[in-house]
Amino acid sequence: MILALESVSKAFAGLQALAEVSFAVAPGAITAVIGPNGAGKTTLFNVVTGVFPPTRGSIRFLGRDIAGLPPERIVGLGIARTFQHVHLFRTLTVLENVMLARHGHSRAEALACGLGLPWARREEAAVRAQALEYLDLLGLAGERDRIAPELPLGRQRYVELARALATEPRLILLDEPTAGLNEREAHEFGEALFRVRQRGIAILLIEHHMGFVMTVSDRIVVLNFGRKIAEGGPPEIQKSPAVIEAYLGSDDGRD
């Protein structure tokens, strides 16, 4: 298992966003986290990537406990992510966004950069070339010099994926990658995810689009009110009474 969560809880001022969540992500697999709005899915991503520490529990990534490490360390260990609402840097070009993600793979600091030392310039040229490769991989080379807000949402999602890949992750977390995409675009994005998986990168994704989830996922984890209520392959999840109840509501009318 590449990522293993053990009894992870997160509370915000009395609100229990995650309660005793345990599950694992297999290497080279696509795992989906689903659940109604407010189930704690994005909180889960934030806890795994270090945006905030879990209140309790352990998160093991490649065998080491990463719970509570700062985000810049966690990405360095090999977890990258995208966002539900695209968070590309608006004042950076598409190319620069991807170059930024190579930050942890380059070393020149203020003095070397300011003095324009030859090795720092060579490193910067290498970063540019590497970033271009990632843009090429996702068919974005033609948009390299544009700024993110100028691109259609579908293209922005690819830029976020390219940026995540550029960190050389072992695991990518995708937060609702098909939100705002039409069926064709969602299908194409799914194809791109298979290419990512082929590179040996595990994927953990949050998704509301059930058709998409059932097609791409190897395994599905279902959260509701911060608790895991089911876990299994797509056919099991589709038949699970607990999942159906969570989505459709039971007769005692929780809504």
């Binding site: 990537t49 270090g50 945006v51 700062p70 985000p71 810049e72 990405v75 360095g76 990258a80 992510r81 966002f83 968070h87 840097f89 608006r90 004042t91 950076l92 620069e96 170059m99 930024l100 993600a101 930050h103 942890g104 380059s106 020149a108 600091e109 203020a110 950069c113 300011g114 003095l115 324009g116 720092a120 490193e123 910067e124 970063v127 940026r163 960190t167």
Partner: protein
């Protein structure tokens, strides 16, 4: 760095060096020296405020720290002026690092208030530590810098130190913003958490650029002390800090060249508005308001945008 930027840097550097040879000595040289000194402060501040997005009001304090350190070392400890300038630059980063570690945990308005408080504390300390700083009377008789037997005691001679130093610091800043580090700073300005999620240690970089920015101000302060030969607590005053922020607002926060243009514009205004005495500040304010009305992002970005619009219009008309 872009080709335009590189060519402009060479042109401005050479221009500044050749100008006195063509025009001979004169009052303008004095103005040019102040432009060079204030440009160092403004460029340093542009890195911190414009690029990294950390609104700090402590640069007048660091200007004063550089000035007083150099003045005290040369008048009281008897260090040669040039050596005093160098040693002072060892003191500033220590103070800046200590302050930066604390205040940069804050963001936005809180950071502005914290750095403002620091400025006020420095000003008060300077006024009160009379045995060291001369209190309200300030320190006078600060010796000029001498390099290899050449005493830089005139506008003319000082210019040939200040101008190259300013332009080299400016080049350092230009290189910096067009590097991996500049990219990281811009990312921090836009969103610290997202920047961190992509490997940028935002907390460390903010302190780093704060120290760097303070050093720009401190170098300017040290050179100022030996150029003017007298310093007073006014060097640490809030008004000076605000003037430099005005410079950036005028020239454009997000472009280093804007800082240079803003400094030149305000320094020239300042010198040639002297007959208006107390109304000077009112005129500054008016200039700033008018600029902000027409070019909200500052003169340089504004003019760039206007030029782009003109070019598009011309191209459109030709079609």
């Amino acid at each position: 760095m872009s080709r335009v930027s590189r060519v402009a840097w060479v042109a401005v550097t050479l221009g500044g060096l050749v100008l006195p040879l063509l025009l001979g000595p004169g009052f303008y040289l004095n103005v040019l020296n102040f432009i060079a000194l204030y440009a160092m402060v403004a460029v340093g501040l542009s890195l911190l405020v414009g690029y990294c997005g950390q609104l700090s009001i402590s640069h007048a304090a660091f200007f004063a720290i550089g000035a007083y350190a150099s003045a005290i070392l040369s008048t009281r400890a008897g260090l040669p002026a040039a050596l005093a300038v160098v040693v002072s630059q060892g003191i500033t980063p220590l103070i800046a690092w200590g302050i930066g570690m604390v205040v940069l945990r804050l963001g936005g308005h809180y950071l502005a208030i914290a750095t403002l408080s620091f400025s006020i504390i420095v000003e008060i300390l300077i006024k009160e530590a009379r045995p060291l700083t001369g209190g309200l009377q300030g320190l006078s008789g600060i010796p000029p810098i001498s390099l290899g037997g050449l005493v830089l005691d005139s506008d003319w001679r000082f210019h040939y130190l200040a101008w190259p130093v300013t332009m080299l610091l400016f080049l350092f800043a230009l290189n910096l913003v067009h590097s991996r580090l500049g990219r990281a700073l811009r990312a921090i300005r836009e969103g610290e958490t997202v920047a961190r999620l992509f490997g940028v240690d935002a907390r460390r970089y903010k302190v780093k650029v704060f120290v760097l920015s303070s050093m720009f101000a401190s170098i300017a302060g040290s050179l100022y002390a030996h150029f003017v030969s007298f310093i007073s607590p006014a060097a640490a005053s809030l008004m000076f800090a605000i003037d430099i922020i005005m410079v950036l607002a005028l020239g454009g926060f997000t472009l280093l060249w804007g800082a240079l243009i803003g400094v030149a514009a305000l320094t020239v205004l300042n010198e040639y508005l002297t007959p208006f005495a107390d109304y000077k500040r009112a005129i500054y304010g008016l200039v700033l308001i008018v600029t902000m009305l027409f070019f909200p992002s500052g003169l340089l970005p504004g003019l760039q945008g206007a030029w782009g619009a003109v070019r598009r219009a011309v191209a459109g008309g030709a079609r």
